[in-house]
Amino acid sequence: MGIHRGGQESSAPLTPRSKSGYAHFHLEGSPGPNTAETVLRAWRHKEKGMSDMRFEAPATVDAAVALLAGAKGITRILAGGTDVMVHLHSDMVEPELLVDIKRIPDLHGISKEAGGWRIGAAVSSMQMMDHTEFAKAWPGIIDGVKLIGSMQVKGRATIAGNLCNASPAADSVPSLLTAGAIVSIAGPNGKRQAPAAQIATGPGKTTLGKGEFITSIFIPDAPPHTGSAYLRFTPRTEMDIAVVGVAVSLTLDNAGKCTAASMSLGAVAATALMVEDAAKALVGSTVDSAALDRLAAAASAACRPIDDKRGTKEFRIRVAGVLARRVAAMALERAKGN
């Protein structure tokens, strides 16, 4: 077997694997793993010839909303396209209209505002990783972003797209939830805001209405002595889909006692989950071994996973606990360092 040392273990180029993260949720209309069949479908797609799909790249949010709201059939936003292109080419979806939002200047840039950071919906994962100040403020979010595919994929993939694609295994989402991220949404009825936790409702499904799309994601400033971290379990070290993902964010007081904590789990239910008992497990403790035991138990108890070829229910439940401990220990070290 070919071992790509320090990178990935690769078996065959057409190895079954879902980059859309739907592998363990074989719902109708959702992409299966990236099997040889998906690839063949992508190749066959080309032989079909010209498509009727309309492509638009508006320069303003209002123009994008008008296009989306005015379309009769299926529409898709094209951000980084790392999910959309795979869906298009495997004929999973044939939109009437594709709206490229990357020509809208307002959607670019990572900016510091009063009370937090604003990440435009067109910002790529690579731009986030390269932003040292943001990476220092929210290392847990960057832990997740770094795991989104290859460098090539990170050069394009956005976190808004990762959230809206609504894969339960999306790697940037658990940390967005623990950070308390708020998304700004534009639509035919004006602008609104919603917690990131209220966007995905199940694999491929969101609460966004017709004509609505996310323009930016706001990440509140963390209090002093806050640390955040994300880890996932995958069968391969890189370029794989989370079987379980755990994000923890915790805050210490000057004496090293935990004053606030949140935890989110990915890939163990139809959407990323917030674990309400995480605060109960950690707050008031010094995040010692007993507190970590309580946190691990809370993580395992919150899982509502399914069996699939990538992991059984029992395995996922157990790994969620193991990862919760490790992630909290990472977050603790980071909290002590700032």
Binding site: G2, I3, H4, R5, G6, G7, Q8, S10, A12, P13, L14, R17, K19, N34, T38, V39, A42, W43, K46, M50, S51, D52, M53, R54, F55, A57, L78, G80, G81, T82, M85, V86, L88, H89, S90, L98, D100, K102, S124, M126, G149, S150, M151, Q152, V153, G155, R156, E238, M239
Partner: protein, 158 residues
């Protein structure tokens, strides 16, 4: 539906093409512009054979639409050698036998050049990490890493 008109720069040359709205940039390069140096291994973002840069950013051209490229600057393998003069990465790939069948090579060269532009002195781990999205079925990767290390050294003038 009418085909879309796109004007961009490819390897420094002003280029115009017509494309279908669903055509990937990879298909535009290969089928419309006859720039067949960029290869297709999967068409789903997994193999990296189609790697190119757009405005200096490394991407899979199979995950980009031709329609998106108005005003963009694209670099493909065809622009890597300057006339007869090979890029140091190309020379080192030959010297270190970093290829066998060659299907992964254009993508690996583009990805490696992008790495060295960002980080002129990468560690072995950084090289392997950066190239993790470029699959090679033939070499076992070690010769590729050696070639990139040697080219980096030459480019630094070390």
């Amino acid at each position: 539906m009418a085909r879309l008109y796109v004007s961009c720069r490819i390897n420094g040359d002003d280029t115009e093409y017509l494309c279908d709205t669903s055509q990937s940039l990879l298909d535009v390069l290969r089928d419309e512009l006859e720039l067949t140096g960029t290869k297709e291994g999967c068409a789903t973002g997994d193999c990296g054979a189609c790697s190119i840069t757009v405005d200096g950013v490394l991407v899979c051209s199979c995950l980009v639409l031709g329609a998106e490229m108005s005003g963009k600057s694209i670099e493909t393998i065809e622009g890597m050698a300057k006339g007869e003069k090979l890029h140091p990465l190309q020379e080192k790939f030959i010297e270190h036998v970093a290829l066998q069948c060659g299907i992964c090579t254009p993508g690996l060269l583009i990805a490696s050049r992008n790495l060295l532009e960002r980080n002129p002195n990468p560690t072995e781990e950084e090289i392997r990490f950066w190239l993790a999205g470029n699959l090679c079925r033939c070499t076992g990767y070690n010769n590729i890493v050696d070639a990139v290390t040697a080219a980096a050294k030459e480019l630094r003038g070390a």
